[in-house]
């Protein structure tokens, strides 16, 4: 059996993204609760940019950040659940799909917000112009209801982290902060992405969020 060693697991863009989201979700909830709608709107657009970045990074980023690495088929998930996990760095097959679910749920939430309007027609998302007042109002209600879905997924995520910490005695938070963790051994090393790809993904995500903020005008 190979010895456990300390290796790089998560690159800094992935980590920065993760902790930015951890801050943004409560802030978005709070600004909505307190009806600070200008800030809510701005933070929502920041979230949009971050999600766009993460999706791009999942395509061209470091190896552990890529969807092709951590999104595995049903057989791999089943094997993992049966305790016959292959030594893969980063997300295990189950964790990988939970990440995808959270990213998808966040994307849905932001997308709904873009088209929403309050009942007074005063506070609107940048894309509300594409839908009628009635539809925008409906979407606002869906946007509010969908937050509960996010809460469930986040709750499961936190529960899983605690499970690993307490039952499996494995710290998952440390690696997401420092980027380094202890690997059981045998897994391929993390391949970081060259800087130009980071610049490219950031620029594209920012441009996309900016374009949406301005009303997605052609």
């Amino acid at each position: 059996m190979s010895e456990a060693r300390r290796v790089r697991i998560w690159d800094w863009p992935t980590r920065a993204f993760h902790w930015a989201i951890v801050c943004l979700v409560p802030l978005l909830w709070w600004t909505a609760e307190e009806e600070m709608m200008d800030r809510h709107r701005l933070l929502g657009l920041v979230m949009l940019g971050l999600l766009a970045f993460r999706i791009l990074w999942g395509l061209i980023g470091s190896s552990t950040a890529r969807f092709s690495t951590f999104l595995r088929g049903p057989r791999a998930v089943w094997a993992y659940l049966g305790g016959r996990a292959a030594h893969v760095l980063g997300h295990n097959p189950l964790g990988g799909w939970s990440v995808a679910a959270m990213l998808a749920a966040l994307t849905v939430q932001v997308s709904l917000g873009l088209f929403a309007s309050d009942e007074d027609g005063l506070v609107t998302g940048p894309l509300a112009r594409f839908v009628s007042y009635d539809v925008a109002e409906e979407i606002a209600e869906l946007h509010e209801a969908w937050f509960d879905v996010l809460l469930v997924l986040i709750g499961l995520h936190v529960a899983a982290i605690l499970f690993y910490a307490i039952i499996r005695r494995r710290d998952l938070v440390g690696p997401m902060v420092t980027g380094r963790g202890t690997e059981p051994g045998g897994a391929a090393e993390m391949r970081p992405a060259p800087r130009w790809r980071l610049v490219l993904a950031s620029a594209l995500a920012a441009a996309f969020a900016w374009w949406i903020a301005k009303g997605a005008r052609l």
Binding site: E119, D120, G121, L122, T124, R129, Y133, E137
Partner: protein
């Protein structure tokens, strides 16, 4: 044979009779009908909700014009006129007894009738601000229109904060 014929005839008569009965019986009431037939103060609930939605639509349309690359002052003016026309009617939309006691879904708070002077003040502010907004749209000055729209939003909020219940 005769008995079967008699039974058959009786069954037929009963069936016909039953159909007749069904035709003359009034149809079952559905909530929408009950609402539509609501008279007096209760009827106002639906009326005012329709009007308020129309105001909301106008506000949304105005906001979209102002966000557009080339805002149409004419469009804004039209919507502003509609709002200014609706504003004075507000005080007629809340007759006593048209609150939650109607059993209909309404966000009108009891304060409307508990603090009639406060409500009147808020309603009059809305009238005044919507008139001002309409006047400003006549100037065609976009910067002034934007500022006036902020004021108008403030007038909406002013009344809603005190007299409209939050959404469930």
């Amino acid at each position: 044979m005769k008995r079967i014929a008699a039974a058959g005839a009786a069954a037929l008569l009963i069936a016909v009779g039953a159909c007749q009965e069904a035709e003359t019986e009034p149809p079952e009431r559905n909530p929408a009908e009950a609402e539509a037939e609501a008279t007096g103060p209760a009827a106002m609930v639906r009326t005012r909700q329709t009007h308020y939605k129309a105001i909301g639509k106008s506000m949304k349309a105005i906001g979209e014009q102002l966000d557009a690359p080339r805002p149409s002052v004419q469009e804004i003016r039209m919507e502003a006129a509609q709002i200014a026309e609706a504003a004075p009617q507000v005080l007629t939309w809340f007759p006593p007894g048209s609150g939650a006691e109607t059993g209909l879904e309404t966000r009108a708070k009891q304060e409307i009738w508990g603090d009639p002077q406060g409500f009147r003040r808020a309603a009059e502010r809305f009238i005044q601000v919507s008139e001002t907004f309409h006047d400003v749209t006549m100037t065609g000055d976009l910067a002034a229109i934007r500022a006036a729209r902020e004021e108008l939003g403030g007038a909406c909020k002013n009344c809603h904060d005190d007299f409209r219940a939050p959404e469930e």
